[in-house]
Symmetry: C2
Subunit: 441 residues, 2 copies
């Protein structure tokens, strides 16, 4: 009897197959004469291959750490398919899978102890400053796909999955000296269909159509629409889809865009973005902690931590990256390796705070200071460079709240004595970069 757990990967030797469960029929394209399928429902499934073979697949309940793929939930937030909240705390190592086993293994070890549960990573090799080395594997052998390249990549995707990390796979990017950014139309499409047939059955996969799509001068805007439609129609599981820009924003209102991936650090825009697109807003790139000469790669750890708090209290999510100079050009943002910065510990601290909040996500509450929460239930204020020595809060009178003073940099949570409701004044330390949390007591 063939069995697989719900949201696990079932493999079959075939060039294509149809999987059936009760009234549903799901067509799965193969790759390299193999079919990979991720069933989303427990119970008995049947299948029929394109050459007429058939069989039965028993889908068992998922193992405890398997929550399924991540979905949009509550308009502006995410959950796993089983309803477990997913709070994206991403990082970026664009080319980490092109660095050879030693460094890639080190990256995975670093991730084991890091706070990140999403990884932005390119499929194609990358050619850019601090990343001039040739990759170990190339994706194509003449007109064929290189199995070694894709086997290697799918191993890394699986390893991320085992660490609870979503692989936000960047399908195209402009940092290229080999020609992957300038392939003909047919090659682009074959590539997309192949990648999806091969990787879509991994539950931790997201599709990022491109990094800085608008810097790929050989593509038109209509190409991106077409790519999105190909991804949408080829992916039986409807994994999350986004696109990342440099200067020109893609029309994020298109129905195939599941969430808005931003390169920006003006979190005052969040409200307008939420109103305009009614989708989760993820500031995947808000500049990186580091010390390289580039403006986008040398903000201080304190500034990046500040941005995480501004983003979260604006009702959005924020991503991390790190670019400290290294004698061997091993910068986390491109190659992975180890983390040197001071922000990850503070991001872990923030992640724990968000995980302790009621499920369903935090939305901006229209307060005088940046604040996200759940009306009548939970409020997280961030005072940024403001340092009031006291402040009159105005919470709904129906409930009574416990208050905590939070120091995001020193990572302390100090309960404030008493219980609070309605309008009340709290004395505050008169220091900048502090937060206050209210929870129903």
């Amino acid at each position: 009897m063939q069995t697989v757990e719900q949201w696990g990967v079932f493999e079959l030797a075939a060039s294509g197959a149809e999987f059936r469960h009760e009234h549903r029929i799901i067509h799965i394209d193969g790759f390299e004469d193999k079919v990979r399928f991720m069933p989303d429902t427990v119970g008995e499934w049947t299948y029929a291959t394109s050459t007429g073979e058939s069989g039965v697949l028993h889908v068992t309940p998922p193992s405890p750490t398997n929550h399924g793929p991540v979905r949009v939930s509550n308009t502006f937030h995410f959950t796993y398919a089983d309803g477990t909240p997913y709070i994206p705390i991403g990082t970026t190592c664009y080319a980490w899978t092109h660095q050879g086993d030693a460094l890639e293994t080190q990256t995975l070890a670093t991730l084991r102890d890091a706070p990140f549960n999403k990884m932005r990573m390119c499929i194609f090799p990358k050619s850019y400053v601090y990343n001039e080395n040739e990759p170990e594997f190339y994706p194509f052998l003449g007109t064929l796909f290189n199995p070694a390249f894709f086997e290697h990549l799918e191993q890394r995707i699986q390893q991320l999955g085992a660490l609870g990390i979503e692989a936000d796979l960047i399908l195209f990017h402009p940092y290229d000296r080999w020609g992957y950014s300038k392939m003909p139309r047919e090659a682009d499409e074959r590539y997309l269909r192949y990648v999806i047939a091969r990787f879509a059955a991994y539950r931790n996969v997201w599709w990022s159509l491109a990094n800085e799509f608008d810097l790929m001068k050989s593509k038109e805007m209509s190409d991106w629409d077409r790519f999105f439609r190909i991804v949408e129609e080829s992916d039986p599981y409807n994994h999350l889809r986004s696109i990342h820009h440099s200067k020109t924003m893609y029309d994020q209102s298109r129905p195939w865009v599941t969430h808005v991936s931003m390169q920006d650090d003006n979190f005052a825009k969040t409200a307008a973005l939420r109103d305009a697109f009614r989708k989760p807003i993820v500031y995947d790139e808000c500049k990186y902690e580091g010390n390289i000469p580039k403006r986008w790669g040398n903000i201080s750890a304190r500034e990046l931590v500040r941005r995480f708090w501004l983003g979260v209290t604006s009702g959005a999510y924020v991503g991390h990256g790190e670019t400290y100079l290294d004698p061997h050009d091993v910068l986390w943002w491109s190659k992975g390796g180890v983390l040197h910065g001071e922000s990850p510990a503070r991001i872990a601290f923030l992640r724990r705070i968000l995980e302790q909040a009621p499920p369903g996500g935090l939305n901006p509450t229209g307060e005088y200071y940046p604040c996200a929460g759940q009306p009548g239930r939970y409020y997280l204020y961030y005072f940024d460079y403001h340092q009031p020595s006291d402040y009159e809060f105005d919470l709904p009178p129906a409930a009574s709240y416990q208050a905590d003073l939070i120091d995001p940099w020193n990572m302390t949570i100090t309960p404030i004595a008493g219980s609070y409701r309605d309008k009340f004044r709290l004395n505050l330390p008169g220091q900048p970069y502090l937060a206050v949390r209210f929870r129903v007591g």
Copy 2:
């Protein structure tokens, strides 16, 4: 023989007079049967009063500390009339002249040791949070002007002048419980003409048409145009004129606006403002150092110092204000008194740096990081929250430059060994909030 120094004040008992020097005739309106005149040219003047009396006035060269009124110079900057550079480093004590002699004397003593050379101050008393006290003097006695009010105010203007401080007089404001913000049209005009006849002869006077003009609901936009025209036509000396807004910006391109007074802290706008208006940009209000609950009154000293540097390196000027809670509600921003904050010493440090720069003002140089300077001569970079460990500068190759590392908060200037030209790389400390200065060696 009647004498007065150039840009000094000559007084005459008359309801009006004409002053002549060679081909020029200047008509001066009187107030309270007095005429005040500020001659701008050395030599022999004659005058004739409205009642037919006449006389000769010998205008002598100015005393060493008298540089005349401040003018716009070099499109985006200021000089005194004698050509001495004037670099505005303003502060705000809106109602300091309505606090009684003890506090007002203390304010003057504070200003003697402070770095500020411009004071934003209201003519009318102010009614607002932390400023609920009645003024010592009221401007009107029935339908007459109250001489005690205006004598007192002009004493304060003179005292500021003796300290080298320009009095940026705010003619109207909305923080009012007595009715000064809702006077009839004729009363407004009489008031304007009176104030100008009385104060315009003081060389250190600027006219700020209003603070937050758009919050004065009893005035239309056309009223502000009219007020500007009255000020322009009534002031024989063409003192600087501006207007300050809350949300709605006055059309700063109008010819009678001499410089753009901003309430804003987005210094990325400076380039657009300079391009649009071709006038000096003065961020008179970019929020205040302090600890009150209001967002506009509790930024940290470090943040205000940062804003001064961002403003200056964007090609603009920035103003200070301070709002620390006080048991007697003596907040500098409204009442004056003493300064408690940590920013003034750093603002003094910046002022000295700007005074050491070549005259003519600093303009943005289109660099990758915020930088203002004079091409081929002087460059002042500010790295804000960026912390590059090195950076390749690209200066014009013709000259050779001496470099200094500047720490705006710790107020240190550390010469960097060597001399530099063209493209060169400098190692930097990898810490945020530092500046680098290049001067032709």
